[in-house]
Symmetry: C2
Subunit: 222 residues, 2 copies
DNA sequence: CCACCTTATCAACACCGCGTCGATTGAGTC
DNA sequence: GACTCAATCGACGCGGTGTTGATAAGGTGG
């Protein structure tokens, strides 16, 4: 279980991740650490950034770092929390468009918004993916996010089937899981510039096409 | 560039990963280390296995370990090399079935064989995925494997389009990349028992369905 | 059979990154 | 001017990695 109210509550009260108690001038330091982390993540992966790097970057010693954050991971988790809160906005927006009876356009719009939100914080997203394999809290956060999307997509598929726009097929939730995970993986590969990976400007066309065919396509045409 | 001839050449000559020179009785130790690694990977992730664990498991001291392998990663890479060589068999088999004019059945068969091959070495596959993010050599090996599959799938799609069985659509290679990456991610999630993830016995039905719709489906029916 | 190479082994070491402890400073009450 | 408490950091212990150098334990051949 995570203990933090997923950010967005400006400063009040100590939380599991942030500084312990108080709110004196050291707010600057805390911000400095977060900014240093974001800056360094643009240059190299999390695993190559030490607590000392973060401390020095923020102009303090390593032990002082621990006054503000309990660990390196906690810093990144704080950053991710905020990104996730921001992305939640995009998701709600997309859902609303979807609900307005124009599901295909809405779908494209939704995937576009999400892609843009993550694309703009590429470094953080890659760090989050790296953390996920090692850190329980990160894994739980990721799970929450994925479950949220899967639930939404499942609802959309079911409603499209109910109104006859989409044919029956695999259980909606199973389909949703595979599609959401496809997006995660494809986008990650593009952000990380893996090979093979899709070109940045091809990602959406390809993903949207597969989603539409998976949801609206008949089982086996041609 | 990797320097190792992807295993399968029993013992000859020192290679980049294995023991340096010679082939005395210490062959047993080398095998013992590899077996210890596989055994421990069934219990816990690579990151929680130390060189000392591997050494003790093989009945030698930590420094002695370095006589056989240059690092913990090298051990896992050796294991992965062998798995990949084995999986290459499945892939060739699948391709042959595919080429015999029964592409849909062949596709299902191919995905099934691959899934079974990896499923049976779950622990190793998960370790490989973990290594990939941290280790250059692992990343290159993974790239080779992925590029191989993408190339094959691209060829299949193009040939199906050429003979009129599949309609035109996104560039075949782009489609292939997304589908192959989807499989990777979905299978990983299932092996790791993430949430959300597909149930073990649902994976193939869902993946095959999406593949068929993505390849053979029309752009936008219903 | 003994000098010699080569295989195989490990204690001891140097290094790095993490997280903690305890002492110290300095600004703000009362 | 005595007290508090946020903030800082030197020094430490821990656990992990990889290396060095000394040593034993087989052949091999002169």
């Amino acid at each position: 279980m995570r203990h933090v109210p997923t950010a967005s509550q400006a400063k009040p009260a100590p939380n599991g991740r942030g500084r312990r108690g108080s709110r004196a001038s050291g707010d600057d330091r805390e911000r400095a650490i977060l900014e240093t982390a974001e800056r360094l993540l643009e240059e190299r992966p999390l695993r190559e950034i030490s607590v000392d790097d973060l401390a020095r970057g923020a102009g303090i010693s390593r032990p002082s770092f621990y006054f503000y954050f309990p660990s390196k991971d906690a810093v990144v988790l704080t950053i991710i929390d905020r990104l996730v809160a921001a992305a939640a906005g995009s998701r709600e927006q997309a859902l609303r468009t979807l609900a307005e009876g124009e599901p295909r356009a809405g779908l494209r719009q939704g995937l576009e918004d999400l892609y843009a939100a993550f694309r703009s914080r590429r470094a953080v997203v890659l760090a989050a993916a790296e953390l996920r394999t090692a850190n329980d809290e990160a894994r739980e956060l990721w799970t929450e996010v994925m479950e949220g999307w899967v639930a939404d997509v499942t609802a959309v598929i079911e409603s499209e089937r109910a109104r006859g726009a989409a044919p029956p097929g695999q259980p909606a939730r199973d389909l949703a899981i595979a599609l959401v995970q496809m997006n995660e993986r494809v986008q990650y590969a593009t952000f990380a510039d893996e090979s093979p990976s899709l070109e940045d400007d091809r990602v959406l066309d390809v993903l949207v096409d597969i989603w539409l065919r998976a949801i609206y396509g008949a089982a086996e045409p041609g």
